[in-house]
Amino acid sequence: MHKIAEVEIQHDIMLANKKLAQRNQRMLDKAGVFTVDVLGAIGSGKTSLIEILIQKMDHKIGVIAGDVISKFDAGRFQKYNIPVIGLNTGKECHLDAHLVEHAFEDLPLEEIDLLFIENVGNLICPVDFELGSHMRMVVVSVTEGDDTVEKHPLIFKDADLVVINKIDIAEAVGADEEKMASDARKLNPDVEVIKSSLKTGEGVKEIIKAIGDFMD
């Protein structure tokens, strides 16, 4: 004889990731490593910005480079002789807390005090997955179009710092960087917004200061 039974499961997969992210953050706190999740679309300037920060910030920096194939970005960071872990996501469009936890196994946390986690180039999926970082920095470039911020509100709502990059070519691509900044503030009244050109160096000092202020 068989019977029909209803089984309560109540397992929230998003919550499971969140709990893992909290565990990651506790591990980072214990090791004294301030961690910045760097988010943004493909080609927004995430890797270039991290390269500049590695050179200009007075910290012991490490990087987790997440990408569908991570060797390209990881290779760019390795030039600076710092701890770098490449995280291949394969088909996946985002990093999650579980992947990052595994990266910690290979990362000498005791040798660093500032960790950048470069997420997969994507303004959509990473929103659903906290990693355990202390700060979320979103890099958006004017070349993506000046409606990009309002089209992807959730990622900007969660951000602690928004960098609007490539402003030196805003006019050439017909984008209004002021609109992008105001859209970000509309979604997230407390967010710090910095306009930058990594090519000319504009805004870099302010970005370094903003991260420093957040660390304090």
Binding site: M1, H2, K3, I4, A5, E6, V7, E8, I9, Q10, H11, D12, I13, M14, L15, A16, K91, E92, C93, H94, D96, N122, I124, C125, V127, D128, E150, P153, L154, K157, K186, L187, P189, D190
Partner: protein
């Protein structure tokens, strides 16, 4: 956009629970998806169909329930449902429906919850 990994996690969660409860057949699965998650229910349903082939879950009815968005306003302390205007689908996370302020926290609508299953098991 990450429906495949979510579908995979759902299948594992359900099969694990089914095994623990000595299920011989899974008749029905109910999943709750927050309206603000970056998950498309139809794509999720399709991928669940693909991933459950040749498992105990094959053929089970998949019920997807939507969890509406709720916000808490840090300006006026309002907590509850939010602006629903289909012409501006993100107005709900931008402005408090009570005081129009923008200092909001999202308190519901970001879930992907495997709620329950209906199974057939021996007496």
């Amino acid at each position: 956009m990450h429906e495949l990994s979510m579908a995979d996690a759902i299948v594992k969660t359900v099969l694990d629970a089914a095994e623990k409860n000595q299920a011989e057949e899974i008749l029905e699965v109910t999943i709750e998806i927050g309206k603000l998650t970056m998950l498309n229910p139809e794509q999720l349903r399709f991928l669940l169909g693909v991933l459950t082939e040749d498992t105990l879950l094959e053929g089970a009815e998949i019920i997807i329930e939507e969890i509406p968005v709720e916000i808490k306003c840090h300006s006026c302390n309002y907590a509850g449902s939010t602006n629903l205007d289909d012409s501006d689908h993100y107005l709900m996370i931008v402005k408090c429906p009570e005081c129009d302020e923008r200092n909001l926290e999202i308190i519901a609508g970001q879930e992907c919850n495997v709620k329950n299953i209906r199974i057939e098991k021996p007496e």
